[in-house]
């Protein structure tokens, strides 16, 4: 039985990392209907900034974690301003193509630095012994990662539900012309969406980097890995990202814990999430919590 609970705990850990990586997608999609395919690269950038601040500039890791979120906030905001602002009003597909271009540019830039090819790991700053309770173990890094995830998601949900600026971001995704008619600045909203996505990406990158070590290909792969999570949750729902992230985490852990190696099955952890996704989308094409188009007849 403790094996089962161990899998549940690791499923939640993996799941909340997925969720944290996924909310960046959701934040951008929610206001501008754009899928940012360069999200994995932003995650990696955030992680490398945290690492540089901690190791090279000798700033305490908690502080460099916060600073990295702020730096990436402004970085993502400038990326939007430089590359995407002029595309407002153009077809969404062109904007998505630009994010593919961005992906290659950031890739190229990172390959110029040592981060592109070498592996790094954060200096340990939390107790190395895992917490063990009734035979179930979780490391401090994982626990802190889960807590950070839930704090951030709580903050973002509050922001979108309760603050006027947050509501205006949802309004822009609903009807751009109408939001302009009441004075919402659409470019500002898009900038803010990218900035908050950058902030969440930096947090995700730093948490992943602490748990798995810093490896560029692992980090930027998170941009793709979380795709099924985002689609399962419904592209524009923060809650959906969390629930879907944890569902995916649990499925993967159970698959690798119970199926792999038995019944002659291998690699089910990689396949099962996609099978589930396909089946679910047949019944719920908008994902678990995605917005349905309201059609009045």
């Amino acid at each position: 039985m403790s094996y089962f609970f161990q899998l549940v705990v690791s499923g939640i850990v993996v799941g909340s990392i997925y969720a944290l990586s996924a909310i960046g997608f959701v934040l951008i999609y929610k206001s501008s209907r754009v899928l940012n395919l360069a999200h994995g690269q932003i995650i990696a950038t955030g992680a490398f900034i945290t690492y540089s601040l901690t190791v090279t500039a000798h700033i305490p890791i908690y502080l460099s974690f916060l600073m990295s979120m702020i730096i990436t906030f402004f970085l993502a905001m400038s990326v939007e301003k430089i590359f995407l602002r002029r595309l407002i009003g153009e077809p969404i597909i062109s904007v998505i193509m630009v994010t593919i271009g961005l992906m290659s540019i950031i890739d190229g830039l990172i390959y110029l630095t040592p981060f592109g090819s070498e592996n790094f790991s954060f200096p340990p700053f939390l107790p190395q012994q895992p917490i063990v309770y009734a035979g179930i173990s979780i490391s401090y890094t994982q626990l802190v990662g889960v807590i950070i995830t839930f704090i951030l998601i709580g903050l973002f949900s509050w922001f979108f539900k309760k603050s006027t600026v947050g509501i205006s971001m949802r309004a822009v995704s609903d009807d751009q012309l109408a939001s302009m008619s009441i004075g919402v600045s659409v470019p500002r909203v898009f900038g803010l969406a990218w900035a908050t996505a950058g902030l969440s990406a930096a947090a995700a990158g730093s948490v992943i980097g602490n748990i798995t070590g810093l490896n560029f290909s692992t980090l930027h792969a998170f941009g793709i890995i979380v795709f099924p999570v985002v689609i399962l949750g419904g592209l524009d729902s923060l809650l959906g990202a969390v629930v879907a992230g944890i569902i995916m985490g649990l499925i993967q852990q159970f698959a690798s814990g119970y199926l792999d190696g038995n019944f002659g099955l291998y690699g089910t952890a990689q396949v099962l999430p996609y099978i589930l996704l396909l089946v679910l989308l047949l019944f719920k094409p908008h994902g678990l919590f995605g917005t349905h188009e309201i059609e009045r007849v």
């Binding site: 009003g89 309004a171 939001s179 008619s181 004075g183």
Partner: protein, 272 residues
């Protein structure tokens, strides 16, 4: 009313609007809106009424439109080709045609987001928010419903309340009667009159329903093919035989003219 020399809140002077650098929609439109009044802009489909409102509220750009000639002044300040956000900040807010409420936001959120440009503190905004529910009691029972599921009349009220939350000096309404039942149209227009009187908001209303618009307005302009073809105090226009015939479908004898005749007459008029 336009003969006295008092300063107008809104002054549109001979504007020409082109879309995509080619299609000319407005060919020299001029109109004035005095402070505290209700002014109506009437005309048939495609006359350029919506374009005029969009030009004033700085919303031509998303449609690739541009004011090529003429100027617009609001409170003496030049707002020709100024961006929409700026116009709202100056105090002119438009309720777009077809209501355009935020479907996936609740009624409460829709109204609240209208205050986005305001900087005068939460207290005042909250007070105005409550005022909206007093003004539109129908909305106070459905604050948490998604606006997309509200009825057409409710949506029009939401759209007006949302615009009023910006505390505008001038409210522009683009066909508030569109797609509403006659009784509701009456209710909406009574509301507009109340807003004008109680909140001291100047109103510019674009309408196809000439009858009701002339009822509540003090002055009116009639547009056709991108030009103002007729203007005057609403009382006078109401009795003008041409207006009665073209826009209310009533002939001098009081009978109704057949649609075919009206059309041919109009075409002839354009030639002149």
């Amino acid at each position: 009313m336009n003969t006295n020399k008092t300063q107008h809140l809104l002054e549109v002077n001979n504007i020409e609007v082109v879309y995509n650098d080619i299609v000319q929609v407005l060919r020299g439109v001029s109109l004035n809106v005095p402070e505290g009044s209700i002014v109506a802009l009437l005309g048939t489909n495609g006359a350029g009424k919506t374009t005029t409102l969009r030009a004033i509220s700085g919303l031509l750009k998303p449609e690739n439109g541009f004011i090529r000639d003429g100027f617009i002044k609001f409170m003496g300040e030049d707002i020709t080709n100024v961006l929409g956000t700026q116009v709202v900040k100056l105090g002119a807010v438009m309720v777009p045609e077809g209501r355009r409420i935020f479907k996936h936001l609740t009624v409460d959120e829709n109204i609240r987001v209208g205050s986005i440009i305001r900087k005068d503190g939460h207290q005042k905004i909250r007070k105005d928010h409550e005022l909206m529910y007093r003004h539109f009691p129908r909305l106070s029972n459905i604050t948490h419903r998604l606006a997309g599921y509200c009825s057409g009349g409710e949506q029009q009220m939401i759209a007006i309340a949302r615009a009023l939350m910006a505390a505008p000096k001038m409210l522009m309404l683009d066909e508030p009667s569109l797609g509403l039942a006659p009784l509701l149209v009456k209710e909406i227009f009574e509301n507009i009159e109340l807003i004008n009187k109680q909140m001291n908001t100047t109103i510019l209303v674009v309408e196809q329903n000439a009858k009701i618009a002339l009822e509540i307005s003090q002055y009116a302009y009639i547009m056709e093919s991108g030009k103002i073809v007729l203007e005057g105090p609403s009382e006078e226009l109401k009795t003008n035989p041409d207006v009665k015939e073209f826009y209310m479908g009533v002939t001098q004898g009081g009978g109704r003219k057949s649609f075919k005749e009206i059309k041919s007459y109009k075409r002839r008029k354009r030639w002149m």
